[in-house]
Amino acid sequence: MSDDIPVHDDAGSLWRGQALPPLQPLPPEQLAEQAHKLQRTVSRRNRRESVVAVLIAPVFLFYAWVFPHWLTKLGALLCVAGLGVLLWQLHRRASARPLPEALAGSLLGFHRSELARQRDALRAAWLWYVAPLMPGMTLFLCGRQIENGVWQPGVFAFVALVMGSIVCLNRYAARGLQRRIDKLDELTVEDNP
């Protein structure tokens, strides 16, 4: 221990004198099995996320088959395609988890990169979450209104409001993460002589 920051003897010796058995190494076979198990758990979670889209897609396919106007059919098919893009993005972002080696970075560095990853996903939510669904939704609603012969702008306003709210909430959360990143960055600044 260096002289500049002497450890508080009582607290330090109390801490180091705990009667805790040291961790013992596990057999490599057990570690390899655990790694496979973890991978299986991640795959199962990804599959669960896909189930929702798989359940919704047939509904829109059914609409594309049942509704007569070509705009409704096209809109429904674009919605299915949009769901596909959304799923792909979810999968891509879930897969972009840090490598095990990243855990050997400093806590500050590791924590910062995790926050930055979440911030970027939130900032870009309009692009990967909202945008893929908008063309299909718009055409589908237009087609339905033509079929019904009734023009209801309120429906479009409602959808725009929901989508806009999603974008705003995500951007608000991203700003919160950025503030936390800025605070972390301050901790790495060295004094200028």
Binding site: S2, P21, P22, L103, A104, S106, L107, V189, E190
Partner: protein, 173 residues
Amino acid sequence: MTVTNAQDELYRQAMAAHGGELARCCFGYERDPALRQELQQELHLALWQSLAGFRGDCSLRTWVYRVAHNVGARHVQQHAGKGQMLELDEIVELADERHDPGHTERRLDLQRVLALVHRLAPLDRELMLLYLEELDAASIADVTGLSARNVATKIHRIKALLASQMNATRSPR
């Protein structure tokens, strides 16, 4: 020696040299025995997997500490409510509030050190644990990524916090 064998060997070396510190580190991040067992398993796996990428750019001890504290901090974020954790400034104020006669006879025992540790937010908790493990300022900066100035400031606060706890236990009524 194959890569896998080198990884296994490094893992065994790390556990032999730092098994005690790792056990205390897990205790510092998780009080509940069942969850601590889970954390220890996570740590074993993370350390073993990470060592595949060990190239000797830092000491094995620094590597082990970094992995252990990152896994610990991740565990805390997954299992604990954020509202329960405080930063050093906040917890110093909390300690000052306890300077009432009802607390003056408390001994600074392990439970009190643990109670302090478990209330700290991850970065400050890591600092406190590294300080208690007797790491010097340069090593703490190396493990945490904090600037030397910030390490010095935070260590000063930790010392003040521990000293205030000691004074509270020793001051006469």
